[in-house]
Assembly symmetry: C2
Homo-oligomer: 225 residues x 2
């Protein structure tokens, strides 16, 4: 049941930064086409060199069409980021469903595998590292991490009986920040990712969480209470 709780309460709802809901059929294709184009451009020039003209041309649309759907350039990046996050959560759910999970560690491992897989296969996935440092409190990288940590905590509590509570959420936040950093580094220059950083990421996560949630630590905790 909570396995796909990761998808979030608003999964499927249109992102709020789009200007106009598509009414007609073709618009939906336009919208995702624009994002596909943006993703391709992101892979080519990086997400700060991107121009609205590049996106429009790549999508076979005109400048005006971009602005019909998005209020400005960074809104497109936000939307692309959001789509990447949604696809990541979906992939985690798929991965979790496809694996036989015996301990919480298997679940954490799946998360890493999903992330790495998307880095390799999803065009423009590096957009997940996009953080708009302006006043907007929404669409904040920390909020994404926080949300994901809470959902993952639910899964680990319900499936593997980890003790629920703010400590678990906090530790998962820490774990996610570390994994983000190490995997970003792994893919910094190598398109397929430097394996040493990926492996070290898994190791670090396991060691960090094992400190509190290994069978031994848990039984000690149980004995103490």
């Amino acid at each position: 049941m909570p396995l796909n709780g990761l998808l979030g309460e608003d999964a499927g709802a249109a992102p709020q930064q789009v200007r106009a809901e598509p009414i007609q059929q073709r618009s939906a294709a336009r919208l995702s086409g624009l994002l596909d184009a943006a993703a391709a451009v992101v892979d080519e020039v990086g997400f700060d060199r991107i121009t609205t003209a590049m996106i429009a041309e790549r999508a076979g649309a005109s400048i005006g069409t971009v602005y019909r759907y998005y209020p400005d350039r960074v809104a497109v990046l936000h939307a692309l980021h959001e789509r990447a996050v949604v696809r990541f959560r979906q992939r985690v759910v798929d991965e979790l469903g496809a694996s036989t999970l015996t301990t919480w560690w298997d679940a954490v491992d799946c998360v890493v595998t999903a992330f790495v897989g998307l880095y390799r296969s999803e065009p423009g996935f590096r957009i997940v590292n996009f953080d708009d440092r302006d006043g907007a409190p929404a669409a904040d990288a920390a909020a994404d991490v926080d949300f994901f940590a809470r959902r993952l905590a639910d899964v680990l509590v319900n499936e593997f009986n980890l003790p629920a509570g703010p400590e678990l959420i906090f530790r998962l936040e820490v774990a996610v920040e570390m994994a983000d950093a190490l995997l970003a580094r792994a893919f910094h220059s190598e398109p397929l990712g430097e394996e040493r950083f990926i492996a070290e990421c898994r190791l670090v996560l396991r060691e960090y969480l094992d400190r509190y949630y290994s069978p031994r630590a848990l039984s000690l905790l149980a004995a103490a209470s």
Copy 2:
């Protein structure tokens, strides 16, 4: 001797991205004044909303003056980044000198303290997270991390007899990436930094490195060879 090796071989040399060496006296003040202004603006609007006009106005100069010293907008950011890195290294050296170091852990702790201290006191210090995602292979965040990891490795090898080698450097790179991420998160919204993330950062670093370099691990390593 290697304690201030952290400063780097080119410490003191003018950054190469400055257009004209200041000849007259007042120019030096202008140059650092421009960077101070840029730092202030970075704190106000973040380093992607910054405009050359803002920098010039804040520094009491004109647009042209900015371009007299820096070839373009990102060069200013690079220079500010560079200054922050240099000050960080200087602070680490100061901190190392002022503390009584009994184990390598004390040195690592000093590094964290220096970083946190600068985040709190140095205007615009968040520029350390600035990464120019374009073709320029120099001025690369990963290169900074790599360079710093090597220097820190030298210190730990010479002062605390840690075993030299690529493993040490790699592990320090990993440690630096993790610390960067956790401290950036600590200061993401709180100007003074969320203490829980700072404390957890120290803990994580210690646990991670202890796995290989605790006295026990080292003696096991020595016995095996």
